[in-house]
């Protein structure tokens, strides 16, 4: 029986996330994934950076490391090399992982370090009051794009795949059980697993862009995505402007630690 309280530091509550924030759904999916994999709490390390999503690390009863802005993958790489038997999960955001930490993301992917990286994408810097992020779509309003975003956003999954991640997936908070399965598959992959999770920030992104209440926003996710398997059968015009969800890339290759061990043998 899954009881989320078993995995949470209840003494840390109430949490600091805003009402309607999607990040709790991601955390729920992560805990269910860990439960279904029968991993013990002692063998899990959760490493995070700075930002709303990165605060999740503090609430879970594992070995947890809340690092500096953009750098969780660097810390996690050190942990994984030092104790390869540990399951190291990185929680980062779109600003943390793609802007200030973008360099570390491509290199962790290139090395194929045995980490599972969950990048929670809500298109905004929430902790600092709602500035645009590297994933903010063109035209979206933020405190630093008051007339609408004009910079082209990243597709983080394409970036991770191109950089060498052996597992790349995208999930949405609208589909927590599908997300849970993606996380399970990500943790099971021995090398670098990258998962982008589309999450919502009703407090800033939703409010600034008049997207309705949190329920409206989570429903909207469904209209913006197409499952990767279904997409194969659809004509190109039906895919225009849509994000693909599911396992987008899975090409197992030797994990960094194994490659290193062989290289120095």
């Amino acid at each position: 029986m899954f009881d989320f309280r078993e995995y949470l530091r209840m003494e840390m509550f109430p949490h600091m996330l805003c009402p309607g924030c999607g990040h709790g759904i991601v955390l729920g999916a992560l805990l269910r994934a860990i439960h279904s994999l029968k991993l013990t709490k002692d063998e899990i390390v959760v490493v995070s950076g700075i930002g709303c999503s990165s605060r999740l690390a503090g609430y879970v009863d594992f070995n947890t490391l809340h690092t500096t802005h953009g750098r969780p993958l660097a810390f996690a790489t050190g942990i994984k090399l030092a104790r390869p038997e540990l399951t190291v999960i990185v929680i980062t955001g779109d600003g943390d992982g793609l802007s200030i930490g973008g360099n570390h993301l491509i290199h962790a992917a290139r090395r194929n370090v045995g980490l599972t990286c969950l990048l929670l994408n809500n298109q905004i810097y929430g902790m600092t009051g709602g500035q645009f992020a590297p994933t903010t779509q063109i035209g979206r309003v933020s405190t630093t794009s008051p007339k609408g975003q004009y910079e082209t956003p990243f597709d983080s999954c394409k970036l991770a795949e191109a950089a060498g991640a052996s597992f790349v997936a995208r999930g949405i908070t609208y589909e927590p059980s599908a997300l849970e399965k993606l996380i399970v598959a990500g943790i099971e992959n021995k090398g670098f697993s990258f998962l982008e999770v589309v999450s919502d920030c009703p407090e800033f992104f939703g409010r600034f862009n008049k997207l309705g209440n949190p329920a409206d926003q989570i429903l909207m996710q469904k209209q913006n995505v197409v499952d990767v398997e279904a997409a194969a059968a659809l004509p190109a015009e039906r895919l225009r402007g849509k994000m693909l969800t599911g396992i987008l890339h899975h090409e197992p290759r030797p994990e960094y630690g194994a490659v290193y061990a062989e290289s120095v043998a």
Binding site: M12, D61, T64, N103, Y260
Partner: protein, 384 residues
């Protein structure tokens, strides 16, 4: 008989640092290439695997220190080495390691600055950065060797202090000491004591990760050994949980600051040469101290009662010891390869009763004994 076990070895400063790190129990190195520190990485990459250690060349210096902190939290002693620009990049993580109390060693082979500066030429321009480079109040330990043999000794000490006090320790070399070769007698050095961080002895559930012991230092459990706890760079309570309670924040910040003060005895090292009857005392460190030593001897031959105060620990600053050594001297001369970074610190300690004189150089050239001798004699030093 392997090279590492020969009684007398010809050792370069950077190589001595790498070998000493291994002897001190370092089993993780992460770094990014930068002159003039590169040999440290190049030696570590060979030494670590046979000892069961890991080497990784990271994507930059920020990531390098991040990885070292990660490895240390997982229970493996770690080190990184860099030079000025890389040291600047590492500052945020130095502060993180101070606040999260993660032992690690950072080697900075000082080169001419500011900015890209003089990549392969010596300087001592980072001594203040070693103290105040990262933001906020924090403890700082910086050791400064002046010979390859001392590089070896102080690298081991850096690891020991770092483990003992759960704080980052900075080894400040200059390019000359780093690249200098010297015959080193390994008999004593090979047997220096090695310290390891204290680990919790209580059951995992009872372990409050940041409750200090009597020495002000909390014991440290490695990730993965059953003591699940939270580590953050936010202000935190004894459990490691974020807090903004002024009382808790003040207590932690003071405790960290006092770590070096309370444990000063094993920490502050310095060397005195002929200071007892000296009328003029030279304050010099690193390679400049080697030149100063010769200048002091030469001055004595010429009838000038000169002495040398050489701080080995730059931070915490050996202020009391310096004040005591200089009490009877009429003059104090600071010789350093920068535009007077430690001069201010020396003046602060000496007080306004006498003006500290200087022999400063920040042009990529080492200071010569002749230049220091001129300063001792009270003559104007014209650097050429």
């Amino acid at each position: 008989m392997g090279a590492a076990t020969k009684t007398v070895q010809l050792l370069q400063g950077n190589a001595a640092c790498a070998r000493a790190a291994l002897a001190a129990g370092c089993r993780f190195y992460a770094g990014y290439p930068i002159s003039p520190s590169s040999e440290i990485a190049e030696v570590m990459v060979r030494l670590l695997p046979p000892a069961g250690g890991k080497f990784i060349q990271m994507e930059d210096e920020i990531a390098s220190l991040g990885a070292v902190i990660g490895a240390s939290l997982a229970g493996v002693k770690g080190m990184t080495a860099t030079s000025g620009p890389g040291f600047s990049l590492m500052q945020e993580h130095i502060g993180y390691a101070c606040y999260a109390e993660v032992p690690c060693v950072i080697v900075n082979v000082m080169r001419g600055g500011p900015s890209t500066g003089l990549p392969t030429l010596p300087a001592q321009g980072d001594v203040m950065q070693a103290r105040w480079g990262t933001h906020g109040d924090h403890p700082a330990i910086a050791l400064c060797p002046s010979t390859p043999a001392e590089v070896y000794e102080l690298t081991v000490l850096a690891f020991n202090l770092s483990e003992r006090l759960r704080t980052p320790v900075i080894l400040l070399m200059d390019e000359v000491v780093a690249h200098m070769y010297e015959k080193v007698d390994m008999r004593r050095l090979a047997n220096l004591p090695v310290e390891n961080r204290a680990r919790p002895t209580c059951a995992p559930g009872r372990h409050a990760a940041f409750t200090p012991g009597e020495d002000g230092v909390p014991v440290m459990a490695p990730f993965g050994d059953g003591y699940r706890y939270h580590v953050t760079g936010l202000a935190h309570d004894d459990r490691g949980y974020p807090t903004q309670d002024p009382k808790l924040v003040a207590a932690t910040n003071r405790r960290l600051q006092e770590k070096t003060e309370r444990n000063r005895d094993g920490l502050v090292r310095y060397e005195l040469l002929d200071t007892q009857d000296a009328e003029v005392i030279v304050f010099a460190y690193g390679i400049v101290a080697a030149a100063a030593r010769r200048a002091v001897r030469e001055a004595r031959k010429q009838g000038i009662r000169a002495g040398l105060f050489r701080p080995i620990t730059l931070w915490p600053f050996p202020g009391e010891e310096l004040a005591a050594a200089c009490a009877g001297a009429a003059r104090v001369v600071v010789a350093e390869m920068n535009l007077g970074q430690m001069t201010g610190e020396v003046q602060r300690v000496i007080g306004r009763s006498k003006d500290v004189e200087t022999c400063l150089k920040a042009d990529g050239e080492a200071i010569s004994p002749e230049e220091i001798l001129l300063a001792i004699a009270g003559k104007e030093v014209r650097h050429v």
